[in-house]
Symmetry: C2
């Protein structure tokens, strides 16, 4: 290996160590930290973040990168080394273009915006959050201005989460999706609703937790390289390719949610655990993008975990665990219950068929704000109108409407679409997987998931962050992100369930 590449890797490894240490500080904050540790933890995260940023944006890394780009001109464009340079360049340019004064201002503004959002949501009073969100939008517009003009200013925001993705592509995808998904929802709404009352009774938390871990184990989660804890909001985090942890939560109102939450986070974790070991302590470790990540979590949660073959295997065990709750509920009823489609106000609780509608709404608002076509003050009204149009329901208050999500209060615009794109990618991969492994459903019926995991490992996981998301999807499926498979999947699944 070139001596300079070795030098670069050494510097990047230190940055990775700092970032991984920050991730542990964050994990602890959300799992075990006593309340008293809060203020000090903020300082520790800020200091590590600052040092990591300084180290990564150093002239030393800049010079090494430039030298190496010359040295590696003409090298195999698919080699790990060249890709490492490419990803590092992408991240380096992003990190160096943004002035540190801006970063500091952003931190101050969003810290206040977060507090205002918490209060606004509590009181369901958008006016408390409004001036802060206006600043957030203005900061995002300034952020865009630090970069060369893009096809669309929103491209720059999107690129933070989906390297190389264009607003025009996302719009195209969502345009195709919108009408078809609305049509499907209308068809479902005309049919009798399924019963899911048995999900909303009391379940024992400990038994549910244990069962969720049985499933994670069956999926292939390696407990020697991870663990599950509880947190207010479930998440996956990692401090190494070999230490990838998940969290879950128990909601007494909706106790079976814990199962699907664990499956979801297991999907994320399996992806991180599957990175090539050579990528440890480099920017090539980890997922290609948020959308590809979400394709993995949603696949294990929905395409596997809410499928009939899956429950053909696990339902007898589940019934044995919870005889009072589902002893008299037959498999078909259970399967329909966990797949109930119902327009609802809150994105995070939405079912598979309605989820993307929540995302499209947010994307349209974000693009409008960045283009300057939608003013913050008009958001609640537009939000409600779109909820009515897309889902046929009206939020009774802003807490359950425009104020429901944390993202904007953290200064984040450009994130939401990754959730929907993840759904699309999951179905797109699924068509390929089921073609490659024709007896997949039978394997699930026997509680076997290793063929699926092996496929994902080889095609997706092992590549880590080497390829851009669109490029990866293209390599694996033969086309870029395409909404058609997801529409086919939804139509097929819910035609069965609702007898369309």
């Amino acid at each position: 290996m070139s001596e300079k590449l070795q030098q670069l890797k050494t510097l990047l490894a230190e940055v990775a160590d700092l970032n991984n240490a920050q991730a542990l500080l964050g994990w602890d904050q959300q799992t075990y930290m006593p309340p008293g540790g809060s203020e000090a933890r903020g300082n520790q995260l800020a200091t590590l973040g600052k040092i990591s940023h300084q180290k990564f944006t150093s002239d030393e890394i800049g010079t090494l990168l430039s030298d190496l780009e010359k040295e590696y001109k003409g090298a195999d464009p698919d080699s790990d080394d060249l890709r490492l340079l490419k990803v590092t360049r992408h991240n380096y340019d992003k990190a160096t273009r943004v002035p540190s004064e801006f970063v500091a201002e952003f931190a101050v503004v969003t810290s206040k915006a977060f507090e205002a959002w918490v209060e606004a949501r509590k009181k369901s009073d958008f006016s408390i959050f409004r001036p802060h969100l206006e600043k957030v939008v203005e900061l995002n517009q300034r952020y865009v201005s630090f970069f060369p003009p893009a096809d669309h200013p929103y491209d720059v925001l999107l690129d933070q989460f989906e390297r190389g993705m264009k607003t025009a592509e996302v719009k195209d995808i969502f345009d195709t999706l919108r009408s078809q998904q609305v049509e499907l929802l209308k068809a479902i709404a005309e049919k009798p609703q399924v019963d899911d009352s048995f999900l909303h009774v009391e379940y024992n938390e400990k038994k549910m937790m244990d069962f969720s871990e049985v499933i994670a184990t069956k999926f292939g989660y390696d407990w020697e390289r991870g663990r599950q804890d509880k947190s207010a909001h479930p998440f996956t985090t990692n401090f190494s390719i070999n230490d990838v942890r998940i969290t879950t939560r128990f909601e007494p109102d909706n106790p079976t949610i814990m199962l699907f939450s664990t499956m979801h986070e297991t999907g994320h974790a399996l992806y991180e655990l599957g990175s090539k070991q050579d990528y440890e302590r480099t920017p090539l470790a980890g997922g290609a993008s948020l959308a590809v990540h979400e394709s993995q979590s949603r696949m294990w949660e929905n395409l596997v975990g809410r499928s009939l073959p899956f429950w053909e295997h696990f339902y007898p065990e589940f019934q044995k665990l919870f005889p009072a709750q589902v002893g008299n509920v037959d498999l078909d009823t259970f399967y329909k219950g966990i797949n109930k489609v119902e327009s609802s106000l809150i994105r995070v609780n939405a079912d598979e068929a309605t989820y993307n509608m929540h995302i499209m709404l947010r994307l349209e608002l974000e693009i409008g704000m960045i283009e300057g076509k939608i003013e913050v003050k008009d958001l609640p009204e537009i939000w409600n109108a779109k909820m009515d149009e897309y889902l046929g329901i009206l939020p009774p208050d802003d807490a359950r409407g425009v104020l429901q999500d944390i993202h904007w209060s953290g200064g984040t615009l450009g994130y939401f679409s990754t959730y929907a794109l993840g759904n699309l990618i999951s179905a797109q991969l699924w068509e390929k997987i089921t073609a490659d492994i024709p007896d997949l459903a039978d394997q699930f019926r026997q509680g076997k998931f290793d063929a699926l995991l092996t496929w994902l490992r080889e095609k997706i996981h092992v590549h880590g962050n080497k390829y851009e998301p669109q490029e990866l999807v293209q390599r694996v499926t033969g086309s870029k992100i395409d909404p058609a498979p997801y529409i086919r999947y939804l139509k097929h699944k819910f035609s069965d369930i609702y007898g369309l």
Copy 2:
């Protein structure tokens, strides 16, 4: 405040953040980290340690220190600001005198020495460890050479753990202690042994853990600013004055040990939690030295937790929890059982009356090695001879003799005496406390410990690391560390128990 002092504090705060982050990495490593995370964790700790060292030994801090020492010449020698400069200077000189090549070599040698020690202990074969220990001794001698000549070379090693402490002082203390403690042990050995068979039966771990936390709460441990987890070796760690955590372990062979372990660690934690809040993120936070720290842990474990008044309050509850184990054991028998004196091979299991003998043995060997008067090859023989002389028993093998402790394999010489000094300080403080609070025993009989904690907070805890250990003991008790109170305490306690 002087602008330069503010600058210094800002830099020191960053170093503190890095050190606190390292402490969390260490806590996680010993509590929750899955095995797969081990290698990456080593890298993260090394990177943070390196950056912290670089930041602390920077010229910027050196210049600020020198400037500020001039600026604060003549300031109140007891002011926090001046003491901050003094402690920082002490640490800075220590950190800058040692060349980074030495630090790197030390890391390599001790990493190998640790592995060799593990194997040597397992096989009970000193020859495996011997060449490594020889290097460790040589490294410690070189370490001493980086510092100005001291009265005794061992002073430099001692100063790492007991700022300002001299070898001559420790020798004097131990010379007084040795003969009196040997005499006491002989007197005890002539008396009939007490019964402690009820401690070595099966106890329920969960109930023992819960009870240990009831005691910690009664002692004043603030669960909003700490927590207890399990680890292979109990310890206390902190990431802030307001996030101080303890761990404990359950030993099936000796299940009640968990109680005393929790009391011990609670003692350490109460000390850290009691630092003046202004000291957060400065080198003044935390304990004055290892010995003063140990005085706190041993006080809560032994002078409180193994006292008769303590159990007069807690024993009925303990009997109710464990009727099968101690339902028929009266309080007097129980009290004697938990205070049984018996010569034993292993330091960490030693009782109050024999513990210091183990320490004196080690101190004599360490001083001999540093002076060059004892050769590593002769250690097993000298060890066994001293065990016979001090405790009247002979280790059947080196695993239970010279190879039992981890310290030397980590390169650490100068540490052991702090354990014994801590015992002495605890009794010295106790005489002062019981004079100041005459009804202390009655308070314990009612399960009240707040007067004791308040006293410790005011006299010891609040000062953090402001004073040197000897200075602190002198301020509080009117004299430097003195073995007489400990001897009086042991004689009084064990005369009662053994009817001397």
